[in-house]
């Protein structure tokens, strides 16, 4: 089955990245078909594996401050800043809907 435009639109919203052209959409279709091969494997009774180090204990250290105070260093790489703040455009404005967005998906 092919992926619907609703799902493609949803993905562009979630990822905040665009498909750009038919090739991009086809890339996803191919990726899904490739991944579908997993169905051939019998995984009954198998637990998902998060990490190869799952049998080990995580390292915990004392909750003491050992480094920091590098505000200037960190701000150096930001393009827009004011004093010690990163400046962002207004939030709480959702990405425009499919019909209003400049996206390849509009034509589909």
């Amino acid at each position: 089955q092919t992926v619907t435009v609703e799902v493609l639109d949803h993905l562009e919203h979630l990822a905040l990245v665009d498909f750009r052209d038919a090739e991009g959409v086809e890339r996803l279709q191919k990726a899904i078909r490739f991944a579908d091969q997993l169905r051939e494997v019998n995984t009954d009774g198998v637990e998902p594996m998060d990490s190869v180090l799952e049998d080990r204990c995580l390292y915990l250290r004392e909750d003491d401050v050992t480094e920091g105070n590098c505000t200037n260093e960190l701000l150096k790489n930001a393009r827009e800043k004011v004093e010690e703040y990163f400046v962002a455009p207004p939030g709480n404005i959702p990405l425009p809907k499919l019909e209003e967005r400049d996206t390849f998906l509009q034509g589909s």
Partner: protein
């Protein structure tokens, strides 16, 4: 050998550094380096020289020129990951492994080229262009290539380095540095090592800190080591391994650096030959070499048996799902606010992020992010992501079973064929290529096991072919010992770079075998 020369004063760190820098300039056509840190390198070399003069070098690595893949953070030096997203980004800190090298006195020459964000198997998809395999310019390759009349054969015939740590592999292979750091998530260190005829070590997951390595797949990434011989790899490993409080995925066990025996003995070992690694598309040349290698071990008294890792062929599919899923998460940090590229679009945070990411990422990266997000959708989570995690366990268990049955080391090919010409390689898209090329190297990342590529012989086209050894978790000493034995047996030939040799006769005078340990 070079370390001994430094100690005896036959050559000084600054001379060494200068020669390497000159060599980098004369091999610029390889496009192996993105950034060359000339000033800081010379300064480091000077400091090293002072230490040698006062008889107090920091260790074997003091004064040794090294290169680092451009997805490791290096303080004060641009770190781009070969992407527009990070062009101009100057790291405020050193990755732990970089810091460790510098603490040992190594001289950081520069940052090497890669596929954008380490996604790819050719080192062809970065914004700074593809890396050329130094062997394209070797006498061995030229002698074997069919001379086409009227064609600019050099320009169109050059072969890829493999990837994604192609720049690092090319740098080591062309003598511009003595060791380089790469990263290995699906084979990204071993693949280019095989194509460039150098040693490529992927350590056990959890042995070396990933702090400062810009992550691709957090549960599989490891820093990789590229050198010209196995002993060198052991030395670098010794200086990098160990627990790092800044990386919670490093194990807490004490790591003891080791030296490899001069005359390794393999007669008491059991070598496993996984039959599934006779994958479709494996060239007959490599198959023959693999077979010959198995015989070498047999003749030396080792037990060589065929084993089975039944889920091998699903490794690449599993990787595809898990990788894209983790990538979707890891790439979310690139929004233009704190670092990196930022779009001029200012209407809202979401539209700014979207525009920044449109502008900053190439097709491959965007494609993986979108695929990853698809597999993580509520309706797909169980069938793709969780399923892949279950298959991962099956793959890891395959290895556990084989190692548990008495096999010490697995011997497999590293790549399906020798390096292909760039013009051939780009005919297929990145994902297809990665799926083809990572087939033999991927499973080791899935299971977190250590693996190493050892250059074995030249193909009929005069290009390097390597074989891979996979070992038990955290048994790098055994793995490297076997690798060293094998290296001594095959005596892989040194690359004969024609043009470069003419200009840099001196370099070759002093560094005959070009190893530093």
């Amino acid at each position: 050998q070079v370390a001994a020369a430094l100690k005896k004063g036959h050559v000084t760190p600054t001379e060494l550094c200068q020669r390497c820098l000159a060599l980098i300039k004369s091999t610029q056509f390889l496009n192996a380096y993105i950034t060359v840190a000339e000033e800081t390198a010379l300064k480091q070399a000077e400091e090293s020289e002072k230490r040698y003069k006062s008889g107090q070098p920091l260790g074997v690595l003091d004064g040794i020129p090294v290169a680092v893949k451009d997805n490791f953070n290096t303080a004060g030096i641009e770190t781009t990951c070969a992407s527009n997203m990070l062009k101009g980004y100057i790291s405020p800190y050193n990755a732990t492994v970089v810091q460790k090298l510098l603490d040992q006195g190594a001289v950081l020459l520069g940052k090497t080229n890669l596929d954008e964000f380490a996604m790819g198997s050719g080192s062809t998809d970065g914004v700074f262009g593809p890396v050329r395999n130094p062997w394209s310019y070797s006498r061995q390759y030229k002698e074997k290539s069919v001379r086409k009349p009227h064609s600019d054969s050099e320009e169109s015939n050059w072969v890829i380095t493999g990837g994604s740590s192609g720049g690092s592999a090319a740098a080591v292979s062309s003598f511009t540095c003595f060791a380089a750091l790469g990263s290995d998530t699906g084979g990204s260190t071993r693949n280019p090592a095989a194509h460039c005829g150098v040693v490529g070590l992927k350590p056990t997951y959890g042995l070396i800190s990933r702090h400062g390595l810009i992550p691709l797949v957090n549960s599989m990434d490891v820093p990789g080591i590229l050198t010209r011989c196995v002993d060198d790899a052991a030395v670098v490993l010794g200086s990098l391994a160990g627990h790092d409080p800044k990386d919670s995925t490093t194990i807490q066990d004490n790591f003891k650096p080791f030296e490899l025996p001069n005359l390794p003995d393999v007669s008491k070992l059991s070598i496993g030959i996984p039959k599934e690694y006779h994958a479709p598309g494996l060239s007959s040349e490599i198959l023959a070499l693999w077979s010959k290698a198995a015989d070498l071990f047999k003749d030396a008294g080792a037990k060589v048996i065929e084993v089975s890792l039944p889920h091998t062929r699903y490794s690449i599919v599993c990787y595809h799902v898990l990788c894209t899923a983790e990538v979707a998460s890891n790439m979310a940090r690139f929004d233009g606010l704190e670092y990196g590229h930022r779009s001029d679009m200012n209407k809202s945070t979401e539209s700014m992020y979207a525009a920044t990411r449109r502008e900053g990422f190439n097709d491959v990266v965007r494609g993986r992010i979108l695929s990853g997000n698809y597999f993580l959708l509520k309706q797909n989570y169980e069938n793709y992501f969780i399923k892949a995690q279950k298959v991962r366990r099956l793959i890891a268990n395959d290895f556990l079973k084989v190692f548990g049955s008495g096999v010490d080391i697995l011997l497999t090919p590293t790549t399906l064929s020798d390096a292909v010409p760039y013009m051939e390689f780009i005919k297929e898209d990145n994902r297809t290529r990665s799926a083809q090329d990572d087939i033999l190297t991927q499973a080791a990342n899935m299971a977190g096991l250590p693996a190493i590529n050892v250059p074995t012989a030249l193909s009929e086209r005069g290009l390097p072919v390597g074989l891979q050894f996979i070992g038990r978790s955290f048994q790098e000493k055994q793995l490297l010992t076997v690798a060293k034995w094998f290296e001594k047996q095959v005596k892989f030939p040194m690359i004969q770079l024609e043009e470069v040799k003419r200009h840099n006769h001196d370099v070759f005078q002093h560094e005959k075998s070009a190893s530093f340990s």
